[in-house]
Structure formats: C-alpha cells, structure tokens
C-alpha cells in the first residue's frame, strides 16, 4: 500500500495545486520526487508530529489542503490531542495518512504497532475515518478524501497486501462494499485482513456455507444501511479486524445492530485486549494472535454449526 499511496499523492500534487505534503521524517520513496518536482509544497517537520499537525491545521485554515504522512503509531497516539483540538474541533480541511496500521510493522514490535487506533479515532466528532483493504482502493480513496471538505484520517497498511479488487475499487466515503455475496453469515472486515476473511469465506463456500464479505473501508461514518441489510439477511455476524476487540470495527458494528435485529450469533475477532508482543512476518503475527484465514474459517464453522450440515 505504501508505494501505491506514494504514487497517488505524487499524482495528486500534479493535479491539485492546493495540496501540500507535510511529513515528519517520513519522506522516502516517491516523496523524494515530490521534493524534487514540487519543492514549494512539501514541508518536512522532522520527528515532531504535534507541531506538524497544528501547523497543518493552520495551512488548512488558509485554504490549502494539507496531506500529512507519518507512521500511524506516532501520528495517532503522539499527536492525538492535536488531531482532536486543532483538526476535529475546528473542522479543518486536513488529511492524515498513517502508515502501518495493525501489526504490519511486524518485527519492529509493539511500540510500532497500532492496534487501538480505530477505537481512538472513531470517537472523535467530525473525523472521517477510512481504512483501505487493498492497494487499488488507495488512489480513489485519496482523491475522494481530498475532494471532501473536513478532517479525514486514512489508516494505511504497508506492503505485500493482497489485492481484492480486479479492476478499480468502487470506493465512496460512507459506503460499505460487498466483496462476496452470501446468505448464511456476514463477515464485516476492514483493512488488509479482509483478504484473509475472504480466503476463509471461500473455504467455507467449499464446505457448503454461503458467507457474505463486506469491506468496511469507511469506519466513520459507518454505512449503517449496508450493515443492517446484510445482518437482517444472514442473522449471523462475524467481524474481523487487526485491532483490539475493544472499541474497533466490531464495536462499531455492534452499535449499529444493537436493538435493531435479533441475531443468531455475533462474534468480534481481533486482538483480545492485548498488545502484540511477538515478532515475525505479518502473516505469522496474525496466526499467533488467532487471526489467520484458518482461525476465521473455524469461527465461521462455530457460528453456523447446528444450523446446517457442514460438508
């Protein structure tokens, strides 16, 4: 996702002269071309995210569209109060792009993971929170985020994400996107782990279970209609996220469903109120924390068992 995003922001700066790139010692890759080709519209604030966020909000006030890019953990956790007070409270037209959500920072360890960012960010009034599933979702997401007037946060993955879209993503802010149609259970997921959910759903299909997979790439504002409609149809809901089970996508989906639909089953898969204290590749870590495609498949079976014969 990193390379796709960097190309997308480079292209966007060529198309829109109001876009200003702000970085915090995070201008590698294609950003070096931005420094070369648009030197007047890129500012490196060094390792100082707080200052970057407040200064970015002032640029927004003056009519620029600042796009801030930093490691997700430093941006959301270090600069949280600045995002709250300077961006959200005052509805500044600023865009945040946090690199490396979930446990994709793999061997860098727990200080570099962001497994509570959805919880932290989705409670902020007036913030639009986006979470791309795969690289093809990024250029369209960035373009729509820049067209949208107001603070937007994009929680980006990093590398080696599986592509889930064949052509281009149908992404719209506030719209969930059905990746696979099904009738027995709905899996709501966000971020790159949706590819694992999709793998599990396809395996379940072979076992005679029809699982619907819905990409919640806008975590806020949540597409309540899509969630209600699918849950009404399947009555079995499973949410999958690379995030603490507290306050994340599962919680958000539960808030929508609560009191509205009589479900047969509901389960939130994620990190069980723990930091990811282990090391390994991204897929290794997900396996260690019971978030692999096999774990998701097992959970689907658990929820459907008793309801129908599993092949």
């Amino acid at each position: 996702m990193r390379k796709t995003y960097e190309q997308a922001i480079y292209d966007l700066m060529g198309k829109n002269e109001k876009v200003v790139a702000l970085v915090a010692d995070s201008a590698s890759g294609k950003y070096e071309d931005i420094e070369k080709d648009y030197p007047d519209r890129i500012f490196n604030f060094g390792i100082a995210e707080n200052n970057m966020v407040a200064a970015g909000c002032a640029l927004a006030k003056e009519g620029w569209i600042p796009v801030l890019y930093a490691l997700n953990n430093f941006l959301v956790y270090r600069a949280y109060e600045f995002i709250r007070n300077d961006a959200c409270l005052q509805k500044r037209n600023i865009k945040f792009v946090g690199l490396g959500c979930g446990v994709v920072a793999n061997t860098l360890g727990p200080t570099h993971h962001t497994t509570e960012d959805i919880a932290a960010l989705r409670v902020l009034p007036d913030l639009t929170l986006l979470s791309p599933a795969s690289p093809k979702e990024i250029p369209v997401m960035l373009e729509k985020a820049v067209q949208y007037e107001g603070p937007v946060y994009i929680r980006l993955g990093k590398a080696f994400e599986k592509e889930i879209y064949e052509d281009k993503s149908p992404f719209e802010i506030g719209k969930a996107n059905t990746i696979k149609i099904g009738t027995d259970i709905t899996i709501f997921s966000t971020g790159s782990i949706i590819a694992d959910a999709l793998e599990a759903a396809n395996k379940a299909q072979d076992s005679g279970i029809s699982a619907e997979v819905i990409n919640i790439s806008t975590i806020k504002p949540l597409d309540a209609d899509a969630i209600l409609n699918s849950a009404q149809k399947t009555k079995n809901v499973l949410t999958v996220e690379e995030h603490n089970i507290i306050g994340g996508l599962g919680g958000a989906v539960a808030e929508v469903l609560c009191g509205k639909i009589d479900l047969k089953s509901f389960k939130i898969m994620g990190l069980h109120d723990t930091f990811c204290n282990d090391y390994g590749w991204h897929q290794d870590l997900k396996r260690m924390y019971k978030l692999s495609p096999e774990d998701i498949y097992d959970q689907i079976i658990k929820q459907i068992r008793g309801e129908k014969t599993i092949a």
Binding site: V20, F45, A48, N51, A54, A55, A58, K61, W64
Partner: protein
C-alpha cells in the same frame, strides 16, 4: 493616538466586569497580558478590519495562552468585532464566550487553551503567507509556563528552519503558572539563551511599558528581520490589582463578592461606576 495607559485601565476594569458577570475565566493571566494585546490592537501594530474579521490581508493574532480570554475578548469588543452586550453573556448558557476562545467568535483565529498549540498554528499561518507571498504578519502570544510544553520547542525549531521571520512570538513572562512559580515548577530559564540557541532573536522588554512594547512589536514590513523576533515581555500576573498581583492562589480563582469590592476599589471605581461599565 489614544492614551494606551488610560485604555489599559479601562480594559482592566472591563475584564473584571466580564468575570463578575460570568463568574468564569482567569483574571490574573488576562491582566498580565492585556498591555501586550492593547498595544497590538490599539497601538497601531496590527492591521485588522473589525467589520470584516476574515479580511485576507489582516495580520493574524493567536492567543496561544487561551486562558487570557477575558483579555482578548475585551480588546476585540472595544475594537468593534462584537457588541458589549454580547460579550456580557460570558460563560452563561447560550454564549459563544467561554473561558477559552474558539473561532465561533469574530476575530478569533483558532481554539486555544490547551497549551502548546498556538505557536505551531502560527507556524502554519506563517508558512502559508510565505507560500502565497502575502505581506501580513503573524503575532503569537504564549505563556511562560507554556514553554514547558515540548511542542513549543518543536515549533521554535521549525520557525528557524523554515525562515518564518513574518512571525513574531511574544512570551507573557509573568513567572507564574497554574499551581506555583514557573521557576519552582519546572525552570525554563535561561529563556533568552534558549531562544538564541534555536536560531531566533530574543528581545526582552517590560511588558507593561508601552514605549518598550511598541518598539519591540513594530516590524518593518518591507524589510523583515533576518531572524524571527521573540519578545520576552516581563510582566506581573494580576498587574494593576495589588490585591491579587503575583499571588499564587489567584490563577483561576473567581473572586467572591467581598473580593470583587476590593478589586473594583483598587481599579479606582465606585460600585455604581462598575455596574455601569
């Protein structure tokens, strides 16, 4: 030009009146910084149009120490940004005037009060002016205790790196913070040397002396200083009211009725005159 000392006394009285009506806000930090704001708005320093608060060529003023809201509200009110009857809804249900300012108020650029934000906000405003080749200036007042926030020094580094000599940073150096003396809570001295070390130009003034203030705040717009000017304004918390001046317990205390009487008396008003303000 108006007599700034006379205007300052008038503003101090109105600060007390506003607090008296709303029973909120912070009197002493408003009194320590009021002479700086008086000089900016009524001493011919700032370019502004109170009938068009968002005039593109206005100078931008940021009160980073938002707890001095009682001060900036009364200055903006007398400058014509809003009516006194509106300001006198201060801290009451339905008002836009709280103990810390927000941009709902005409003339306020940013919500401040959470310390360590305003100088960084000023950095963005100054960067934008440079990018657009605009000639207006950016004035930011921070507190001295506020300089304990790390973001202040992040901002200072970036002011220097980006060459933001269109920004003037004023430190209301009243030597006190919420719960005690700055020097005892967390020493920030030597402030001037720290500022120098960050590549900025400190100027130390008496923050209650209008000649010194006007000299320091005046910037030759056609020939901006090479290094960003940082005015360390030595002030007294609660200045003008001996009853509360330099007293620890008064940071955010609201006087009771007896204490208001003493304060009103010290500001040279009878109660009748005070009620008419």
């Amino acid at each position: 030009m108006i007599d700034l000392y006379e205007k300052a006394l008038d503003l101090r009285r109105k600060i007390i009146k506003t607090c008296y009506l709303g029973r909120g806000g912070h009197i002493p930090p408003s009194l320590s910084s009021i002479d700086i704001m008086n000089a900016l708005y009524f001493g011919g320093i700032l370019k502004y149009d109170s009938k068009n608060p968002n005039w593109e060529n206005r100078d931008r003023f940021i009160l980073s120490k938002g707890h001095a809201a009682l001060g900036i509200y009364n200055v903006l009110c007398d400058a014509g940004f809003f009516k006194r009857e509106d300001l006198y809804t201060f801290c009451k249900p339905g008002t836009i005037f709280g103990a810390h300012p927000t941009p709902s108020i005409p003339g306020i650029e940013a919500a401040t009060g959470a310390l360590g934000h305003g100088l960084s906000f000023g950095v963005g405003l100054a960067l934008s002016a440079k990018m657009k080749k605009q000639k207006h200036l950016i004035y930011v007042i921070t507190g001295d205790g506020e300089c304990q926030e790390g973001s202040i020094w992040e901002a200072a580094m970036s002011i220097s790196k980006f060459g933001l000599n269109n920004l003037i940073w004023i430190i209301d150096h009243n030597k006190w913070q919420a719960t005690g003396k700055v020097s005892e809570t967390m020493e920030i001295e030597p402030l001037d040397e720290k500022i120098k070390a960050f590549g900025l130009e400190p100027v130390v003034v008496d923050g209650h002396d209008y000649k010194q203030l006007i000299d320091a705040l005046s910037v030759d717009r056609s020939n901006l200083p090479k290094k960003t000017r940082v005015i360390i304004a030595n002030t007294h918390k609660g200045k003008g009211v001996p009853f509360i001046e330099d007293k620890r317990e008064w940071h955010s205390k609201i006087p009771n009725n007896d204490e208001f009487k003493i304060i009103i008396n010290e500001l040279g008003l009878t109660e009748e005159e005070f009620q008419k303000l």
